[in-house]
Symmetry: C2
Subunit: 331 residues, 2 copies
């Protein structure tokens, strides 16, 4: 009998606040290009006051993956914390509207931290630089982890960013135990090279002990295994994890499994906004895996889903992903 959920994602629930900036703006305001930096509310207010008109779209790395998979008909749920405020209501709506279950209780409206938000500053070249105010998403505790839900998951999908925050490790441990105990599998995304720097040891322990499927990009994998040679770090990861999926931007992705490497090439895409590329790659790859396609096809589905996301502003899909798979001859 199949389980209720194919993938349950756990991550930081944040609303993306997207604006266009020139690179000089990043330099003048000390914002590092291309990566995610955590900021406090005061700094968030300072930067927000300086950025141009914005568009708000629900985001969060694992949230994007779950939304993408839900759009393709995947049985999914999401675990992340918002507050009972306007942005929290928007976040919950957008997940449920996409077909994902989302049952985590909202923090009360008088909680000192608001629903988290991520200022996504998109440069003319399409690269995005993220400044994140985690807000209440930081306060996800083991109490928010529903063990019955984790036991009903074929896969749990853990967001590396979620290693920040006081009770995050305990919450992950509870989720892993409940999932594993019921025969489920564990996937992890490394999220960001600086996130890897902050949590390398904890990531390493988790990878060795629990992770069956590791998502990453080349920068994160180099940071994780501290070597500049991609082929070296790929082999190091593959020695520790059943399946390693490493994206390399316009070059597509390398998938290591059973001692063999599969390369899935990406299609040329006009890059508008890189936000969510890795998240939707994971959604596409999961779709292939869960539906019995071979490794190459799953990788190609990841590339096609990522290609859709970077062709527009925002990290939630706007086109029907399965139609795109069909168009690329993958179904």
């Amino acid at each position: 009998m199949s389980k209720k959920y194919q993938v349950v994602g756990i991550g930081n629930a944040v609303v993306d606040v997207l604006s266009h900036v020139e690179d000089v703006f990043l330099a003048e305001n000390g914002i590092e290009k291309g990566i995610m930096t955590l900021i406090d509310l005061e700094r968030a207010a300072q930067i927000y006051a300086k950025t141009g008109p914005s568009t708000e779209v629900s985001g969060g790395s694992a949230g994007n993956t779950i939304a993408g998979l839900a759009q393709m008909g995947g049985r999914t749920a999401y675990v992340g914390k918002v507050r009972d405020d306007q942005l929290g209501a928007i976040y919950a709506h957008d997940l449920r509207a996409q077909g994902a279950d989302y049952e985590v209780p909202m923090a009360p409206a008088d909680h000192a931290a608001e629903t988290g938000r991520c200022m996504v500053m998109v440069s003319p070249d399409g690269e995005r630089s993220m400044n994140t105010y985690l807000g209440v998403s930081e306060f996800l505790t083991p109490d928010d982890i529903d063990e019955a839900m984790m036991a009903e998951a074929d896969w749990i999908y853990l967001e590396g960013y979620r290693f920040d925050g006081p009770d995050s490790h305990a919450a992950f441990a509870k989720a892993i135990a409940a999932c594993r105990g019921a025969g489920g599998k564990v996937s992890l995304t490394l999220s960001d090279p600086f996130c890897v720097e902050r949590h390398r040891d904890a990531f390493r322990v988790m990878i060795r002990a629990h992770v069956d499927l590791l998502f990453c990009n080349e920068h994160e994998l180099r940071a994780m295994y501290q070597d500049e040679d991609l082929s070296v770090v790929l082999r190091l990861a593959a020695a520790e994890v059943e399946t390693v999926v490493c994206t390399v931007g316009a070059g597509g992705a390398y998938i290591w499994r059973d001692g063999a490497e599969t390369h899935a090439p990406a299609d040329p895409v006009q890059l508008v906004d890189a936000t969510g590329a890795g998240d939707l790659f994971a959604a596409g790859f999961f779709y292939g895996e869960l539906n019995g396609y071979n490794t190459f096809t799953a990788g190609r589905m990841g590339c096609v889903a990522a290609g859709e996301i970077i062709s527009h502003i925002g990290a939630r899909p706007q086109a029907d992903l399965k139609s795109l798979f069909a168009k690329h001859g993958l179904l």
Copy 2:
């Protein structure tokens, strides 16, 4: 000496909640296609729960016009009411970030009505159907009208939608008196055919007594003057107002002034989302008027600005409008 403001807009401050729907969704939920319908909070919650994932962008008809004009370097201010909540903060930020003054005090956070929002449902053909919860924007009172600001305006721009609400007529009267008393001029947009039906008599009184420049589309003008023949209603309006600017969709716009008609054609555009077409037409036309271009050029600028807005989701400009004017040989 030139005045501080070229245009001060007064309207309903609402955040647009944009989603894609099939036409059958509109039919099943009793939503009239292509027009703006006012709804209460309960109905708003019902419809929101049924719509798909959304994108939030600041909107409001006059707000869109002011934001567009501000982007082109126009000296502008906006008058509309939000609450001190997350969406209110977003609304204020997006106007100020575009360069417009926005000084109306926010309603306190404990006000029963929230910041207004407009559910914009975009059909596959690009037509938009709007369901608006006015929220606190309905409660703009004469106290919110700063007479000194109105006296410092070359033009005030009144949004027809703003005729809904208890103190709206008194607020407009105060703004008109202060502006006129200091030698300023008055413009009005009819907003929507059903809005015209609700307020025809009040519109008529204002048009005859105070309006120097009337913006409308063909449907609104027919509703206003109750005749199906566009040439008839154009002449009726032109007999009452110095300048009448009437958009006709893909056909561009007709401008009546000094007893003569000027036709400004529109360029072929791939319609993605019609939201804000009229609002940005007004911004482009104002830019031409304020900068000494002839009537035809001002009309063409309106068409080009409207063309930019309907080529993407959301009613705030994403491309540099003056660059587009240059590209079309209008500067």
